[in-house]
C-alpha cells in the first residue's frame, strides 16, 4: 500500500482508454477476467449447480474420497465438499465486493472532509489514519474481530474498518491536489455551496484512483475474509466459506487432505486473478513502475 499515493489522477474520459490499455496484449489479464467471471457465475448460480445440499450430513459417507458420487469427496460430517466449495464462493466474493465498496465510501468521506476543510479536522483525521495505517490490515482485522466477534455483518464491518484508512489517505491526498484547481476556485467565487462543490466537483475528480484501489483491494479482502474464517472469527460454521473449510479440514487432515487442498486452491486462483487485473490497471496508470 506504500505506493498508493503515487497513483496519478486520470481524468474521467481517460478511463475507457485505460480499460483498453489494461487488456491489450496481455493474455494473463484476459484469462484472469474470465476466471473472475466464471467464479462470479458459480457463486450466483450456486443453488442450481451444486450437486448436493452443502449442509446435508451423511453418516454413511464420512471422509469419502473423491468418487462419482462425491466428485471431491466429503468431510468429517459426510458433507459434499464440491457443494461446500461452490456455496463458499458466495461468501468469498460477496466480501470481496462489499467491503472495498463500503471502505471506499467511508474512506472517501473521511479523506475528502480532512483534505477539503483542513485545520484541526485534518490534523485529527490524519493522525488517526496514520496510526491505523501502521497496522497491517490482517492485524487490524483480527483486533477488531476480537472486539466484535464473527457473523456476516460483523465481518463486513471488520473488513471495512481494515481498508478504510488506506482509502482515506488516498482520498485526502487527491482532494488536496484537486482543491488547487482553478475550477474549484471558480466555484467558490461564484457562490456555489460547499456540499455542492464537494459532491459535484471534488468527489467525481478523485473517483478514478479510488476505483482502482477498490479493484486492487478486493483481492486483499477475499484473502482477509478467508484468513478470518480460518481463524474462526469470520464466517461461522456450519455455513461454508473457503477459509473455514480449510479450518475444519485441518482438524481432519489425518482422514482426508481434500478440503485443505481444494479450499486453498480456490482462494489462490481467485486472489491471483484479481491481483493480476489490479496490477495491470496500476501498470497502465503508472508506466514508470514496470
Amino acid at each position: 500500500m506504500a505506493n498508493s499515493e503515487a497513483i496519478p489522477l486520470p481524468e474521467a474520459p481517460r478511463l475507457r482508454r485505460l480499460a483498453g490499455e489494461v487488456v491489450a496484449g496481455r493474455p494473463a489479464v484476459i484469462i484472469s477476467l474470465a476466471t473472475v467471471l466464471v467464479f462470479a457465475v458459480i457463486a450466483i448460480l450456486a443453488p442450481w449447480i451444486a450437486p448436493r445440499d452443502p449442509m446435508a450430513q451423511s453418516f454413511i459417507a464420512i471422509n469419502a474420497m473423491p468418487s462419482s458420487d462425491y466428485l471431491l469427496g466429503t468431510d468429517q460430517f459426510g458433507r459434499d465438499l464440491l457443494s461446500r466449495l461452490i456455496y463458499g464462493s458466495r461468501n468469498s466474493l460477496i466480501f470481496g465486493l462489499l467491503s472495498p465498496v463500503f471502505a471506499a465510501i467511508a474512506g472517501t468521506f473521511l479523506g475528502v472532509t480532512a483534505g477539503y476543510f483542513g485545520g484541526w479536522i485534518d490534523r485529527v483525521v490524519t493522525r488517526i489514519i496514520d496510526m491505523l495505517l501502521a497496522f497491517p490490515e490482517l492485524l487490524l482485522a483480527i483486533l477488531v474481530a476480537a472486539a466484535l466477534g464473527g457473523g456476516f455483518w460483523n465481518v463486513v464491518a471488520v473488513l471495512t474498518i481494515a481498508f478504510t484508512p488506506g482509502f482515506a489517505r488516498v482520498a485526502r491526498a487527491s482532494t488536496l491536489a484537486v482543491k488547487q484547481e482553478p475550477y474549484i476556485e471558480a466555484a467558490i467565487a461564484s457562490g456555489v455551496s460547499t456540499p455542492v462543490i464537494i459532491f459535484r466537483h471534488v468527489v467525481p475528480n478523485i473517483s478514478a484512483p479510488i476505483v482502482v484501489l477498490m479493484t486492487l483491494w478486493s483481492a486483499s479482502a477475499i484473502r482477509l475474509e478467508a484468513t478470518l474464517s480460518f481463524l474462526g472469527i469470520g464466517t461461522q460454521p456450519p455455513a461454508p466459506s473457503w477459509g473455514n473449510i480449510i479450518r475444519e479440514g485441518l482438524g481432519n487432515m489425518f482422514a482426508t487432505p481434500w478440503p485443505i487442498l481444494t479450499g486453498g486452491l480456490a482462494i489462490t486462483i481467485v486472489v491471483l486473478a484479481i491481483s493480476t487485473i489490479g496490477d495491470a490497471v496500476r501498470d497502465a496508470l503508472d508506466p514508470e513502475i514496470k
Partner: protein, 311 residues
Amino acid sequence: MTRYILTRLLDAVPTMLLVLTLVFLAMRVLPGDPALAALGDGAQPEAIAQFRERFGLNDPLWLQYLHFMRDMLTFDFGASLMSGERVAQLLVSNLGYTVELTIAAVLLGIMGGIPLGVMAALNRNRAPDAGFRVFSLLGYAIPDFYLGAVLLIVFSLSLGWFPISGAGDGFADRMHHLVLPALTLALLKVAFLGRLTRTALLEVLGRDFVRTARAKGARENRVIYRHALRNALLPLSTGLGLSILSTLSGSVAVELVFNRPGLGKLLITAITERDYPIVQAGVVVFAAAVVVVNLLMELVYVIIDPRIRVQ
C-alpha cells in the same frame, strides 16, 4: 542523534495512548456487550450482573477508561476466566515463541528476497525476471495458512520429516519445530522483499554514481552490492518494517496451523473461549508491538541515512 532519538521516543507516547484509547473504545463502546460475549447468549441475568460488577462495567464510562488506562500502563492484565492464571504470566510465557518465529521468518525472507530481487533487476525483462514476477504474484496470492497446511501435509504427515505440532524443548528440537512455520511465513517475505529490492535497485542503477563506479573499473559485484544496493537500502528498510509487522500478524494463523504455542494462538483461543481479559490484553500487546516496531524502524532510517537527522 540522541536528541532525535529522544524526540522520536516522546512522539511514541501519545501514539501509544491513542492506541490504548482506541482499544478501549473498541472493546467497550462498540456494539457487543463484553458480559454477553463472555458468558454466551443464554446467560442468566444474575451471572451477567455479577460479571458486570466484577469487571466494573457498571461504572461510568470515564471511570472505566481511567481504570483501563491505569491497568494497562501498570501491566495489570487481570486473570484468565478459564484457568485463573495471571494474564501477564501467560503473555510472557508465549511471547518467546512468537518472537522466535517472527525473527526466523524475517531473516529467511531477507536471505531469499534480496538476492532474488537483485537477480530480477539485473535480468530485467528477461526469463529470470519473468520467473520472479510469477513467483511473487503466487507468493502474494497463496494465503499463508494454506501454504502452511500443505507443507504440514507433505513434510510432516506424509514424509514424517518434521513434527506435526508444538514448539519443542531444547535448542535442536526447537529449531526442528521452527523450520516449517518459518518457511511458510518466509515465502511471502521473499516475494515482497524481492519485489522491493528489484524496484529500488532499478531506480538506483541508472544514476550517475553507479556509472562512475563502473567507469573507474570496479568489479560488477562491487558496483551492485557496495554502490547500488547500499543506496537502495532506504526504501528496503521501510519494507523491512512492514514485513516484520506482516510476519507478526501472519504468525497468528501459522501458529494455529502448526498447533504452536505463541501470542497469536493465545489470542485466538481466548476469542473462541470468550476469555475477555486475555482478549483485551492480547489486543493491547499486538497493538503495542506495532508502535514499537515502527519506532525501531524510524531509528534504523537515521542510521542508514544520516540526512534525516537534520530535517
